[in-house]
């Protein structure tokens, strides 16, 4: 919404020359999304302040600018017209172009010189990552002062979280070239905001390289900056880092670290629910569960155990119910024993992920003929999955409300009726061993329940009995004497 720049360099009135804006009047610059108002609220030899107010047209954001045109957003109520975001970066680039590029007709030497400068930006969206502000600006040599902005303290009687809004007022000060300060702001404001009001294409990569040339390569958070700036297009991040890095080795390292940390984004959980793509909230939940379980490589182990079991059972035609983004499918595809593999998930986002992960588009014909992925829900009878050798439900049942389990039981054991069914689910007892888990907390925000070993048996055994199966229960992962293994598995075998 607004940016102010203040200097105490003497004479402070030189700020006008550096910014190419005459202090004698108020400037208005039209922008595609509204206008910028530029003026000097304070002007003296000892101290001058320049202010840029953005006046963003809230109606045009939704309606578009003209007849039949489309707006950027579908909600009228949005913080976009009021916050410092990529709109501010665009305004800086459009109205302060010379200053951003470090040129000044009247004061070229001063433009190339580090002078005492401070900047104030508000409201800056940080969405809970206030520490990030310091991590981004401190390494660049600024004193960072953050004022929090209250959300709506009058409503704090409704519960927690009303005191602090997702926005802060950022104050930076330091001795720095004006052009550097502006490019830091230009790049880092959208990084903090995590949103851009326009489509991010390859131009954006070039802009980042150009604006970050002098400082981004040495910034300790360069991956995060590039990644967020480029809206999580990882191959572009790698490219930017490689171009900014002094040698290839550093870029390699950066790239490999990235791919590790990226497993926290994107899930891999094989559950009936929707997963990440484009839904950061889901991704966050998945990531939280993975972070808990990561130290023991639990999910890998689960998939390995299930795939091995399916092999051992001699299954050839298998269904992965709740296949998520296709991690188990990928393992099964590698085993020629499985002649037909079907992945089912209710979330079309997950299925798209799976299709990408498995590269279904470009898969050779013979292999492609072995695998299908379909949308389906486990609480409905699904004729497409009848008559298979085996079905796997890896971390699926805990995503169903317990009163829907009876539908799943019938759909699976009465109608689909595979020879074998493998079900895995967390062992709640083991939660005590995870660090940072509150008592009673579940591993994933979408888990509707988590069972103890006894509860799992209490479900599995009567189900087996009712539908003519035998069941064997076991643990997955290193077993604790008191709490058992972190995950548990039931293998049902049809009788007769």
């Amino acid at each position: 919404m607004l940016l102010t720049l203040t200097t105490t360099h003497q004479p402070a009135t030189d700020l006008g020359f550096l910014l190419h804006k005459n202090p004698g009047r108020v400037h208005e610059a039209p922008l595609s999304f509204g206008r910028a108002v530029l003026f000097y609220p304070e002007l003296s030899e000892s101290r001058s302040t320049f202010a840029m107010l953005l006046d963003i047209d809230p109606v045009a954001l939704v309606r578009g600018k003209g007849r039949g045109s489309q707006g950027l957003f579908d909600q009228y109520v949005s913080d976009r017209p009021y916050v410092a975001s990529s709109f501010l970066s665009v305004a800086i680039a459009k109205t302060l172009r010379n200053a951003l590029n470090g040129s000044s007709k009247e004061r070229p030497d001063l433009a190339a010189k580090a002078i005492p400068l401070s900047a104030r930006v508000l409201p800056l969206p940080v969405r809970g990552a206030e520490d990030l502000v310091e991590r981004l600006f401190k390494p660049l040599g600024y004193n960072v002062e953050i004022e929090s902005i209250p959300l709506d303290a009058k409503l704090s009687y409704l519960g927690d979280g009303w005191d602090v809004s997702p926005y802060v007022c950022l104050n930076l000060s330091g001795t720095v070239k004006l052009s550097e300060l502006l490019s830091h702001l230009y790049v880092l404001i959208p990084v903090l905001d995590k949103q851009k009001h326009y489509f991010v294409d390859r131009n954006e990569l070039e802009k980042l390289v150009a604006k970050g040339e002098s400082w981004l390569g040495g910034h300790p958070e360069k991956e995060l900056i590039a990644n967020r700036y480029l809206r999580f297009k990882r191959s572009w991040t790698r490219e930017v880092l490689a171009r900014l890095a002094f040698d290839e080795a550093i870029a390699e390292e950066a790239a490999s670290e990235l791919s590790v940390s990226s497993s926290g984004y994107g899930s891999g959980e094989g559950h009936a629910g929707g997963e990440d793509t484009g839904e950061p909230r889901e991704a966050r939940k998945d990531a939280a569960e993975e972070a808990l379980e990561r130290p023991i490589r639990l999910h890998e182990l689960r998939l390995e155990t299930v795939a091995e079991k399916l092999k051992e059972l001699g299954a050839r035609r298998v269904v992965d119910l709740g296949c998520g983004s296709g991690k188990l499918l990928k393992r099964l595809l590698a085993e020629m024993q499985f002649s037909e593999i079907v992945g089912i998930d209710v979330s079309s986002g997950s299925l798209e992920n799976a299709a990408r992960r498995l590269r279904l588009d470009t898969m050779p014909g013979k292999q492609r003929a072995r695998i299908r992925i379909l949308q389906g829900a486990l609480t409905y009878r699904d004729r497409r999955i009848e008559g298979y050798d085996a079905a796997a439900l890896v971390e699926v049942i805990e995503h169903l409300d317990s009163d829907r389990l009876s539908a799943l039981e019938r759909a699976l054991f009465e109608f689909a009726r595979p020879e074998h069914v493998i079900v895995t689910t967390p062992n709640r007892e083991y939660n005590a061993k995870f660090e940072g888990m509150a008592p009673g907390q579940l591993r994933h925000a979408d888990h509707r329940f988590e069972w103890t070993r006894q509860e799992f048996a209490k479900w599995a055994e009567p189900v087996a009995e009712r539908f003519g199966y035998q069941v064997e229960l076991s643990g997955i992962g290193d077993s604790d004497e008191e709490f058992g293994a972190p995950s548990q598995m039931a293998v049902f075998a049809r009788v007769g």
């Binding site: 919404m1 607004l2 102010t4 009047r25 108020v26 108002v37 003026f39 000097y40 609220p41 304070e42 202010a51 107010l53 809230p58 109606v59 909600q75 009228y76 109520v77 949005s78 913080d79 017209p81 009021y82 916050v83 508000l122 409201p123 902005i149 209250p150 959300l151 709506d152 409503l155 009687y157 409704l158 979280g161 809004s165 926005y167 007022c169 009936a272 629910g273 929707g274 209710v346 979330s347 079309s348 986002g349 798209e352 279904l360 949308q375 389906g376 829900a377 486990l378 609480t379 409905y380 009878r381 699904d382 004729r383 497409r384 995503h399 409300d401 009163d403 829907r404 539908a407 019938r410």
Partner: protein
């Protein structure tokens, strides 16, 4: 020569090339009924005589023929069909679809064929072709009637061919022109006294007089009604001859219809002198018949022999078959159908009593035709998937049951005694141990994916056919299966609501005038204006007690109802609060004697549940309050910077005024959303404000006007304690300017005091105007409330001017489609249709509200 064929059959024309088959076909059949191999050759190859295309052409012939037969349409195969194996394929096709096959052999003589082919330039394939055809035909024409054709007609001259006249007759099973009302009576098995008792209860006067040859039936039926016997009149019971006498008399008098049962057919075989075992109660019938005169036996023989496997009635709405029938068999005739109708289908296994295990065809039945049947004794007649078994084991000491149609009322009399001990107890096997549910409820435990995914077309009683695109259904599947409540509770979802047209009055985006004008133009006459509460839409299914939830909804979790949002999610996260809230509503209903007045033990209420912050706190925090905080912080500082610059000598007056007015609006915006938030520390802080009493047992109250709804719900709200809130309303006669003004004044006052606005509804719940259905409701929201919708600065004149241009067409069309679906869901539910039929509509509403996703990968 006049020839009669069934109006549904497969007609095979048989004859050499040039015999005149196509001319014959064109003369007697519709172009769409004829499938010609030549034409199909043309379709696949552009050349009707391209012999290379023969295989593909015949695939097409068979495909078309098969499709027509599946749809119960007559089909004529115009191909030479001179070889036995060609005809065998057709007979097989007919059989698979229970169609009779008819052969017309068109044989004017080989010379004529040659001559005709010579005249046609496209038929210069040589004389040997016709010669081969004729030879093949001659070879087995003599045995053609053994091939499986029901009728074979051969015409051996041009004159004979030309003299043919074809008449079509209806199949005996097709009695769609017979209209009820009917009283459909289950397996009687010789239980004469119970039958007479049941007649009495049904309002018939039937008695038997005299003895021996003089014994006769005197029957009087209630005006317009007829009886249908589902078969098994005889065996096991004490008076099979009298039961036969009654049935035969009434059928003869046109007072009854009858389909045969397996026992009746076995008796016929006995009477025909066939070697049948005298067991399963036939022994009793035989000895009873031995006391009857021989003429009686002859009449019985003739009667049973004349019975047709099943009856398809009332334009296809109803079918009667002894052991049931599958949908593709309805109104057709074949040995397989007769077999099924008499005996049902067995799995080939036997149970612990040595009886064959029956395959429960009704569990898979999905037809639109209601099927009423007997054969398998059950303790109670219970609907399952639009089928009903009315054999309640009278002869085994159960009862004799009738279904009154179309009233769907079940009437029974208890058996006077156990005439024979049942071999196995006749109870439905439970599919969940220890749970007593109806057959339908058990079946409904599991819905079928095929009923919801893909492109859906739902026909509604409102006369609207609603289409749901595949991509919307795919999106809804995720919401439904991950977040929605148990589908058994989800019998309705409310439609979206359109706002009124935008107002042109200065400072207003919405104003009551436009809504009044809309309803006036649509001819509504009167409207009901209701206060619009600002909370969250909530639907409440309230059962009188836990057992009603089990009986009517098939829910056995102990819940006594459900409270759900407009997207089918549970309103509260915990069952305890839900139950406590339901208890409050129920208390209000108890107090106003609701249950007995409506003769129901459940109800569906449509309401608003406040505070808004109870359900939407996350949204308020993340979207509304956040926007307010950002706007106030930014605009506040902007104002002070401009002030500072003004003091410094810059001319910022205009800008300052502009930013200051925006800052003021940001403050108003915060006030606006705050108004709908209040803390909830106990149940008393929730306010449940109902405005539609949508349904109770057997009734959808969408035929009642809104005044009725307001009054009924006002009674409940008045008695329901602090958690219930009445909705204020007034009725406005649109022709009265004064009434409009008063209502407008009311709206202004309400909204000035922080009210959201009002909802204006036509006086009647659903109204058809000159241009189709009228919107069921329009919302007119207050100026301050609209700030929450359109943002803090919406009422700056420049913004308002643009916001006034809003298209309502899509929203209104969506509202109408959802309204029709919601009503349809309830109509189906109160008619006790299977859950899948209710779920289909509810799912469709949810799908229309979803952003489409790509269903295919």
């Amino acid at each position: 020569m006049k020839i009669t064929i069934p109006e549904f059959c497969l007609v095979a024309l048989v004859g050499a090339s040039g015999s005149g088959k196509s001319t014959f076909a064109r003369k007697h059949f519709l172009p769409t009924e004829i499938v010609s191999s030549d034409a199909c050759r043309g379709v696949v190859s552009d050349d009707e005589n391209d012999l290379d295309a023969t295989d593909d052409a015949f695939k097409l012939v068979h495909y078309i023929a098969e499709t027509r037969l599946r749809r119960r349409k007559l089909v004529v195969i115009d191909a030479t069909n001179v070889r036995k194996e060609d005809r065998a394929r057709l007979i097989q096709l007919a059989k698979a679809h229970h169609a009779l096959a008819v052969a017309f052999v068109v044989n004017p003589g080989e010379d004529i064929c040659h001559e005709r082919n010579r005249e046609r330039p496209d038929r210069q394939f040589g004389a040997h072709v016709v010669r081969n055809h004729t030879r093949a035909l001659k070879r087995d024409i003599k045995r053609i009637d053994k091939e499986g054709f029901r009728y074979v007609h051969e015409f051996r001259s041009v004159e004979a061919i030309e003299a043919v006249e074809i008449e079509r007759t209806r199949l005996w099973t097709d009695r769609r022109d017979e209209i009820g009302p009917f009283d459909i009576i289950g397996d009687v098995h010789g239980c004469r006294d119970e039958l007479l008792g049941l007649f009495g209860k049904l309002g018939y006067s039937v008695r038997l007089e005299g003895e021996g040859l003089d014994r006769r039936v005197v029957a009087e039926v209630p005006e317009g009604r007829r009886v249908i016997f589902v078969g098994d009149l005889v065996d096991r019971g004490p008076a099979s001859p009298d039961v036969l006498r009654i049935a035969m008399h009434m059928v003869e008098q046109g007072q009854a219809l009858c389909v045969p049962g397996n026992h009746d057919v076995k008796l016929l075989r006995y009477l025909n002198g066939r070697n049948v075992k005298l067991n399963h109660g036939l022994d009793a019938t035989v000895s009873q018949l031995d006391r009857e005169p021989p003429e009686f036996k002859q009449t019985v023989k003739k009667f049973i022999d004349g019975l047709v496997s099943h009856a398809w009635l009332e334009g296809g709405r109803l079918a009667i078959a002894h052991a049931g029938i599958k949908e593709p068999m309805l109104g057709r005739a074949s040995g397989a159908i007769r077999e099924f109708c008499l005996y049902g289908e067995t799995s080939g296994e036997t149970d612990e009593f040595g009886l064959p295990i029956r395959y429960n065809w009704a569990a898979e039945y999905r037809g639109k035709t209601t099927v009423v049947y007997g054969h398998t004794p059950v303790p109670e007649a219970e609907w399952l998937n639009n089928t009903l078994c009315v054999d309640t084991g009278c002869v085994f000491g159960g009862k004799l049951t009738a279904l009154r149609w179309p009233e769907k009322e079940i009437v029974s009399v208890e058996a006077a005694q156990v005439y024979m001990a049942p071999i196995r107890p006749f109870a439905h096997p439970p599919t969940r141990p220890g749970v007593v549910l109806s057959q339908q409820a058990m079946h409904d435990d599991l819905l079928d994916l095929d009923d919801v995914i893909g492109k859906r077309i739902v026909t509604t009683a409102m006369g609207r056919t609603v289409q749901v695109p595949e991509a919307n259904a795919a999106a809804a599947l995720e919401v439904m299966s991950r977040f929605a409540i148990q589908p058994k509770w989800l019998i309705h979802l409310p439609p979206t609501m359109s706002p009124c047209e935008t107002s042109t009055r200065e400072g207003f985006l919405e104003h009551p005038d436009e809504a009044f004008a809309y309803f006036d133009k649509e001819g509504a006459g009167r409207v009901v204006v209701e206060e619009k509460h600002m909370g969250s839409r909530a639907l409440a299914v309230v059962c009188r007690e836990e057992d009603a939830a089990r009986r009517r909804f098939g829910v056995t979790s102990g819940e006594t109802g459900a409270l759900f949002t407009r997207t089918g999610r549970s309103f509260f996260n915990d069952a305890v609060t839900t139950e406590a809230m339901l208890e409050r509503i129920r208390a209000g209903m108890d107090a106003c004697d609701f249950w007995s007045r409506f003769d129901t033990d459940w109800a569906l209420l449509d309401a608003e549940l406040m505070p808004w912050s109870a359900k939407a706190q996350g949204l308020i925090k993340e979207q509304y309050a956040a926007t307010g905080a950002a706007a106030n912080a930014g605009l506040g500082e902007a104002v002070s910077l401009l002030e500072k610059a003004g003091h410094g000598g810059l001319d910022t007056a205009e800008l300052l005024a502009d930013f200051a007015s925006r800052k003021a609006r940001a403050d108003q915006y915060v006030d606006a959303y705050r108004r709908y938030c209040w803390p909830v520390t106990s149940l008393d802080d929730y306010k449940f404000a109902p405005f539609h009493l949508l349904a109770t047992e057997g009734k959808v109250h969408m035929d009642r006007d809104h005044l009725w709804h307001m009054q009924e719900l006002g009674l409940i709200a008045a008695e329901g304690g602090p958690s219930l809130m009445a909705t204020t309303y007034r009725v406005v006669d649109l022709s009265s300017e004064a009434e409009r003004l008063v209502a407008t004044e009311w709206w202004l006052q309400q909204t000035a005091n922080g009210g959201e606005g009002m909802v204006i509804k036509p006086f009647d719940f659903s109204v058809r105007g000159a241009r189709g259905m009228v919107q069921p409701a329009l919302k007119v929201r207050g100026s301050e409330y609209l700030r929450i919708i359109y943002g803090p600065e919406y009422d700056l004149e420049g913004n308002l001017a643009r916001l006034r241009k809003r298209g309502l067409g899509l929203k209104r069309s969506l509202a109408m489609r959802e309204f029709a679906l919601g009503q349809e869901a309830l109509l189906r539910f109160v008619a006790r249709e299977p859950l899948r039929r209710v779920h289909e509509c509810v799912f469709a509403i949810l799908a229309l509200e979803c952003e489409p996703v790509d269903p295919r990968l």
